[in-house]
């Protein structure tokens, strides 16, 4: 187990190194020039050159990347070009909001998705199954800005149950979490449905029924733990999809998370911010996958981590 963890952590570090390299390279070859953004349109060539030199952007790629890495291993993510603040400080201020939103969204999509999937599997081929699968299809295909605007209009504008945007109370969290959760629930319900259908066909479910167990116990104690196994692995991967969706949802709901920070950074080609946010997202994905793998043996005793 300890050996497994050490090996996984080494792998994770390599993944993050790869992510940093590719992102840095992409930003380097990008035709847009961050110095122009900083200096403004009326700046003289001399000022532009000064800023370029000051930021070290006149150096070759290898030197720039080596400098960045050197800072990174010391925990230094660099300074934002425009906000003149440490990127680490900016991210630290916004990370809790994003993590809260992510937790709320995962909760939403699991509760919605797993329930829908189990019900559909148990009512396979009947009206309820077809209705649920149609719903999940819509959930999967609907763009996030449409879902978020729809929710905003119905529950915030018309019914006034929840605030239109912002951050602070539980009520603020509901609509953005639901937006992300609805999209995810579409995937989870389909996955859960097919896993559950497979499990319900197995010999051990027949055994459980032959013992005279009640339907509830057969489903909750015997079928569900087996069917949920592939779903757990999915959660780890899912965090990556979140990081993309969060940019849109945080903008629509005015949620002060790193998605907004990323959006600001991208608009102004603020390289340290883009790098910082990308690396934090990559970290989240790596940790999510690791956690999913670490949880699995507790549900499936056949799996041993080594």
């Amino acid at each position: 187990m300890a050996a497994y963890l050490v090996r996984r952590l080494i792998q994770s570090a390599l993944i993050l190194l790869g992510v940093s390299f590719i992102t840095f390279l992409l930003l380097f070859v990008l035709p847009a020039d961050p110095v122009r953004q900083i200096a403004g349109r009326s700046a003289t060539p001399q000022t532009v050159a000064n800023i370029r030199e000051q930021l070290g952007l006149d150096q070759p790629f290898v030197v720039q990347y080596a400098r960045y890495l050197g800072g990174l291993v010391q925990g230094d993510l660099g300074r934002s070009y425009l906000q003149k603040t440490e990127v680490a400080t900016l991210i630290a201020a916004r990370l809790p909001a994003t993590l809260l939103l992510m937790a709320g969204a995962i909760l939403c999509e699991l509760v919605l998705g797993l329930t829908m999937g189990v019900i559909a599997a148990l009512r396979r081929g009947r009206i309820a199954d077809q209705a649920l699968m149609m719903t999940s299809f819509i959930a999967v295909s609907a763009p996030q800005f449409v879902v978020s605007l729809l929710l905003l209009y119905v529950f915030a504008v018309r019914l006034g149950w929840f605030p239109i945007g912002g951050y602070g109370t539980f009520a603020h969290l509901v609509l953005p979490a639901l937006t992300l959760g609805i999209l995810g629930s579409g995937w989870y319900s389909r996955m859960m449905r097919s896993a559950m259908i497979d499990v319900l066909r197995t010999d051990y479910i027949r055994t459980a029924r032959a013992k005279g167990l009640g339907r509830a116990r057969v489903i909750l104690r015997h079928a569900l733990p087996n069917a949920v196994l592939p779903v757990i692995a999915m959660i780890g991967i899912d965090i990556g999809i979140f990081m993309g969706g969060i940019v849109v949802v945080e903008s629509v709901f005015g949620w002060p998370g790193i998605g907004q920070l990323a959006w600001q950074g991208i608009q102004r080609i603020d390289i340290p911010i883009i790098m910082g946010v990308t690396l934090v997202s990559a970290c989240a994905i790596v940790i999510g996958n690791l956690l999913a793998d670490l949880v699995t043996p507790f549900i499936d005793p056949r799996i041993r981590l080594r």
Binding site: R7, Y204, R206, T207, G212, P225, N226, R302
Partner: protein
């Protein structure tokens, strides 16, 4: 109806029927309407008796069992007529809630596949205790004590520790005993055993059958034994029902059915059962036929003009297990631990042993599917897994026929193309020539050439295996490896496929490496036999030597464990196995102790020591 707590004396218990089935009809709902799976089935089960329902696949025997349990797969399959009475109560009118109270409590069931019949994520204890508490409200502690008692009754060692274990930590035989413990913990009046030993090795089957018989004697449970194996029927049953295509074709006391079967189907079924001791007689026929046809004796052929078709010398196959931070090899599974043998041209060489003994691994090594150490020679050429061209050429000489023909055939490819495919791969002939040869091969294996345009699902299991055999013959190999090739087939189909193999051997001069766990089949078709145990050969020789004069204790135990399809046969009490088969896993750098084979005369090799 009162539940009997203590076991009643069997004489008293045997009075009166406990279960009676009348006019049972089970149908499946298809697009073409209701299609009957079981038709007009009536029988009674007496207290304490064992009633066997025998038949081949599709006979409706398992469906009957599920109907009694009220577990027919909804919504397609349902009971369409008849009554099932337990005592005076009609189970068909009980509904799901009523049936739930009966299931596991008054009628219990064990299934064919012990490997998949237990929930992999719950402990043995959880699964046993919930079965007890589902019907008898009692504290967890008391239920636990009952569970330990039940595991002790099925002769599992350390019953208390087993409760904390998961199914994957137990072997197949142990799992089936857990299933039996679960079924009998509440002392049901009826136990339905659906092919309870079919998936088990023959020595384990012996123990499980003995166990069932002992428990029945102690508890007075009536057993419905569903099986395709007439040997098991002869050993276990008081009465037999023979079923075919959903109908009962014959019913009667076991000795009468075996001595004087009335129905033609029963006679055919019994005739198809491979019997130990019948091999020698058949060999004599084969030999005369050979002489009539003027074909050379395989032994003579081997003598001078050609070497053996395959020669293995100290072949070892090890699978590495990795561990630690850097994933280094820490342990090895020694699947094959030093096997030497030679297969002569035109002979049938059988490799027998129980699951996990390494016999299939040898087959895979011989066609280069797994890397090996030691020497494998095919037709005098050394098999080297790192030389792709040479390997391809050698594969032309050796073909495999696997156990499950449905899995071995591509479901989306016409069978004619599949038979011709090996010729395409090896660039033999043009399209027309290949088609003609495929048609010819189909005729040779007893199929008509116009079936070449069909897909595998349009054939029966036996026909599919014939297609696989035709495909194996397409390259005119010197050796066909038949890896459990007839094990999944019904006995009557099995008998015909075995006959086909014998005919093809004569006509094509091909040799077989026949890999099987079934001693009776091997005894019927093999020229020479090697017995494998834990990756090594413990005994080898001609069929007469190994079966007529088995010397190694393991060979003796294997032969003694085979059920004999003769109710009059009384076996000597088998010595009970001393625990489980040892593990083939050894730490890196170490391996199993080598067995040394000694020739005790005329090429009869026996491992010394144990």
């Amino acid at each position: 109806m009162t539940r009997s707590g203590a076991a009643p004396a069997p004489e008293i218990a045997k009075a009166g029927p406990v279960l009676s089935v009348t006019g049972l009809e089970v149908s499946v709902n298809t697009e073409a309407g209701l299609h009957p799976l079981v038709t007009d089935l009536s029988f009674t089960l007496m207290r304490g008796e064992t009633l066997a329902i025998a038949g081949e696949s599709g006979s409706g025997k398992s469906i009957t069992a599920l109907a009694i349990m009220g577990l027919l797969p909804p919504p397609a399959v349902r009971l369409t007529a008849g009554t099932i009475r337990l005592g005076t109560r009609d189970l068909t009118r009980l509904g799901e809630a009523g049936m739930r109270a009966i299931r596991g409590d008054r009628i219990a069931m064990i299934f064919q596949e012990p490997m998949t019949s237990l929930n992999p994520v719950l402990t043995i204890g959880t699964q046993l205790i919930e079965a007890i508490r589902a019907h008898q409200p009692m504290s967890r502690a008391r239920a636990r004590a009952r569970a330990v008692e039940a595991l002790g009754a099925v002769r599992l060692s350390e019953p208390a520790r087993r409760l904390g274990q998961y199914p994957h930590e137990l072997s197949g035989g142990m799992r089936q005993r857990v299933m039996i413990a679960m079924a009998l913990a509440l002392r049901p009046e009826v136990l339905i055993a659906d092919e309870p030993t079919t998936a088990l090795d023959v020595t384990v089957q012996r123990e499980v059958l003995d166990l069932l018989r002992d428990l029945q004697r102690d508890l007075g449970t009536a057993i419905i034994l569903i099986t395709h194996d007439m040997g098991v029927v002869a050993e276990m049953a008081d009465r037999v029902i023979v079923m075919q295509s959903g109908r009962m074709v014959e019913e009667g006391p076991t000795p009468a059915i075996f001595a004087q079967p009335r129905a033609a189907y029963t006679r055919a079924l019994l005739a198809a059962v491979p019997r130990m001791g019948a091999g020698a007689a058949r060999a004599a026929v084969d030999l005369t036929r050979n002489r009539v046809l003027g074909r050379p004796d395989p032994a003579r052929l081997h003598g001078d003009d050609a070497g053996p078709v395959a020669r293995l010398e100290d072949v070892r196959v090890r699978f590495d297990l990795k561990g630690g931070v850097f994933g280094r090899v820490t342990h090895g599974v020694h699947a094959v631990a030093g096997v030497s043998l030679a297969i002569r041209r035109g002979e049938t060489f059988a490799l027998v042993g129980e699951s996990g003994c390494g016999k299939s691994t040898i087959a895979r090594a011989m066609v280069g599917l797994v890397p090996h150490q030691g020497l494998i020679e095919i037709a005098g050429q050394r098999l080297a897994t790192n030389d792709a061209a040479a390997l391809k050429a050698l594969r032309r000489r050796v073909q495999i026929v696997f156990q499950d023909p449905m899995a071995a055939l591509d479901p989306r490819m016409r069978v004619g193309e599949q038979i011709a495919e090996p010729m395409v791969i090896h660039g033999i002939g043009d399209g027309d020539a290949r088609r003609a040869r495929a048609a010819d091969l189909m005729a040779r294996v007893g199929l008509s050439a116009d079936q070449a345009e069909r897909y595998p699902h349009e054939f029966s299991g036996g026909q599919r295996q014939r297609i696989c055999i035709a495909r194996a013959l397409a390259l005119q190999p010197d050796l066909i490896i038949a890896d459990e090739s007839v094990s999944a087939l019904d006995v009557s189909v099995q008998a015909r496929v075995l006959d086909l193999l014998a005919v093809l051997k004569r006509d094509f001069g091909v040799a077989y490496l026949f890999i099987s766990h079934d001693m009776a089949v091997v005894e019927n078709i093999a020229d020479r036999v090697a017995v494998m145990y834990l990756g090594q050969i413990v005994e080898a020789g001609s069929r007469e030597q190994v079966f007529g004069d088995p010397r190694h204790p393991y060979t003796q135990r294997l032969i003694a464990a085979v059920p004999v399809p003769d109710p009059g046969h009384r076996r000597p009490p088998a010595p009970r196995l001393a625990g489980e088969v040892p593990s083939p896993v050894h730490p890196r750098g170490r391996g199993p102790a080598r067995r040394v084979l000694h020739d005790i005369g005329h090429g009869h090799l026996v491992a010394e020591g144990d």
